[in-house]
């Protein structure tokens, strides 16, 4: 007695023991299948505020679901599952589970900003999608995007030394994103650069890459800066 309407039930809502005996009765397989309901039983009241704490999400509460964003969306034209209006709605009510179901496509926003341009209530849907993508990274729902790794490495070096060393940023960025440290394009790039640079500069670059000198009297500035950024973030996220 298979479930005829099986296509109407998500797999994760089916519970079944393939082999099971209860009170001496064999109820293996479909004889014990239970379906868990698909009903939404509560909202997460704090979620909207949380997303508003991320850059781009500030105006999410203004949305009235007209659908202009989705209708104008470049990605929606490719994939009807890509629906900014819907994600904004889910964000407003705090339906995180539904949002997470689309985790693999929300980041695909190409930032054409047609939605932001057309929105009659100034919601900035493009920003909301960025905010959602960042929230998912932060929660570990999705892996960090390469750009996030780059940003982090960049900021780290600033905190430590008050300046960045291009070579080191690149090296660590490749490491964190699992890319080979020596890349063909990089070789060509360095080779060309070397041809035109005075030797003195080249030596200084090599030295700096190894010793990463700090900005003059940087002292505790890095820590202060780091604290300030942290505070700002916390204030924004509530």
């Amino acid at each position: 007695m298979a479930i005829h309407e099986k296509a109407l039930i998500e797999d994760e809502r089916l519970q079944q023991h393939d082999e099971l005996v209860v009170d001496g009765v064999d109820v293996s397989g479909h004889w014990n299948t239970m379906i868990s309901p698909r009903t939404v039983r509560d909202y997460d009241d704090d979620f909207e505020t949380k997303i508003q704490g991320f850059a781009g999400g500030e105006n999410v509460h203004r949305c009235w679901q007209c659908g202009s964003c989705t209708n104008s969306c470049t990605m929606y034209a490719q994939n009807v599952q890509f629906n900014p209006r819907y994600w904004i709605y889910l964000t407003r009510l705090g339906m995180k589970e539904e949002l997470v179901k689309d985790k693999d496509i929300i980041w695909q926003c190409v930032s054409c900003n047609k939605c932001t341009n057309i929105c009659p209530k100034d919601v900035k849907p493009e920003g909301v999608m960025k905010a959602l993508a960042h929230w998912m990274e932060e929660e570990g729902i999705t892996e960090k995007a390469p750009s996030t790794h780059f940003d982090e490495e960049f900021a780290d070096q600033i905190y430590k030394t008050g300046r960045i060393e291009d070579g080191k940023v690149m090296q660590n960025f490749f490491k964190k994103t699992g890319q080979p440290l020596v890349q063909e394009w990089l070789k060509v790039f360095i080779f060309r650069m070397m041809k035109h640079l005075p030797v003195k500069h080249l030596m200084a670059m090599g030295f700096n890459t190894i010793h990463t000198p700090r900005t003059k009297s940087w002292g505790k500035t890095g820590d202060v800066l780091k604290n300030y950024v942290r505070e700002q973030k916390e204030a924004a996220h509530g």
Binding site: R38, T39, R62, Y89, R92
Partner: protein
């Protein structure tokens, strides 16, 4: 001589406006109000702040009452109804339930509406659960200055307002839109939030009809400044869970899933029914009712203040769901039209 007198039936915003306009033209107004106070629904039902002015009902309507009561050309009969009306346009005689008789050349029926009784929609929990209220009751709570659950006095974490209660519902014979509930609800959401900032307000809607200038002033403002959440779902049932909280059951038609969400207070945005006395009014005054039970308009474009009987005019919510400000405008127009027609009669006779 009765051709200088207009009988105004009903002392609500429309009737008061009609009487005032009759007076301002130098004619006499006789106001007959079945309740013991003037002011109509805003006063009788204890409304809080009015849409769109934001003034307290008592102050705003109070001024209208005072204007009529202070006018030497006005006579007011409270606690009385018209029992019988004889004569014709220019020469009516009305017998009142208090034994008095009024001679008037014209009659303005400003008889208003009756609030929808939520008991007619029992699956929405009114009458079963103490924490299910109507907008009218919630207005009174706002007027009292404290938002709390009637059942135990706790401050509600969440309040929801259900739109279209007693409107747009063929099951209970109410096919009309009550026009004002969207705006009133958005306004109420702001009032609740103002008094009780820790309370989240949700409005469950099928569509939002905050027409005209009410759009940004109420709908947008409640959403953008007061963080009211609008959920696209018309609620099917309200029940209570074991912990005493109310459960609101609907389909979120945007998410396309059934929802069962806990709330502390559920507010019915009740609609406007025809005045429960309309069958009687129709008989006493010899005027027709349209198919929903409101008074029938004589003619939409050239005689908007008329009824099916010559010399009898109407205005405001007697014709169908109406806002307070439009009721006042219509009342003024009806008063003006009555006086103008009487003036023409006298000229003709003269």
């Amino acid at each position: 001589m009765q051709q200088d007198t207009v009988l105004v039936v009903g002392g609500g915003p429309a009737g008061l406006a009609a009487a005032a306009n009759v007076n301002s033209a130098g004619y006499k107004a006789v106001v007959v109000e079945k309740e013991d106070v003037l002011g109509g629904a805003p006063i009788l039902s204890g409304y809080a702040k009015l849409v769109p002015s934001g003034e307290w009902a008592k102050d705003a309507i109070g001024r209208m009452v005072k204007r009529v009561e202070d006018d030497a050309n006005s006579t007011v009969h409270k606690g009385a109804k018209v029992e019988k009306l004889e004569g014709e346009a220019g020469n009516f005689t009305a017998t009142l339930t208090n034994g008095e008789s009024v001679q008037a050349g014209a009659v303005v029926l400003a008889t208003g509406f009756t609030h929808f009784d939520s008991i007619n929609k029992p699956e929405w929990g009114f009458g079963t659960y103490e924490d299910v209220l109507t907008t009218t009751q919630m207005e009174q709570m706002v007027a009292s200055g404290k938002i709390a659950c009637p059942s135990d006095g706790r401050v509600p974490e969440r309040v929801c307002i259900l739109l279209c209660v007693g409107s747009r519902d063929r099951q209970i014979g109410r096919e009309w839109c009550s026009k004002i509930c969207c705006t009133v609800s958005a306004n109420l959401a702001m009032e609740i939030k103002e008094i009780s900032p820790e309370t989240d307000v949700f409005i469950y809607y099928m569509d939002i009809r905050t027409f005209g200038l009410y759009e940004d002033k109420f709908y947008w403002k409640s959403q953008e400044e007061f963080k009211t959440k609008f959920v696209k779902a018309r609620i099917a049932e309200v029940t209570a869970s074991g912990d005493g909280r109310l459960l609101v059951k609907g389909e979120d038609t945007l998410v396309k899933r059934p929802i069962v969400i806990p709330f502390d207070i559920v507010v019915h945005a009740i609609g406007m029914d025809p005045n429960a006395d309309n069958p009687e009014i129709s008989q006493v005054f010899g005027v027709g009712l349209e198919k929903h039970g409101f008074l029938e308009r004589a003619e939409q474009y050239t005689n908007t203040c008329g009824t099916t009987r010559k010399g009898i005019y109407s205005c405001g919510a007697a014709y169908g769901p109406e806002t307070i400000d439009d009721s006042i405008a219509q009342g003024a127009a009806a008063g003006g039209r009555a006086v103008a027609d009487l003036h023409a009669l006298v000229q003709k006779a003269g």
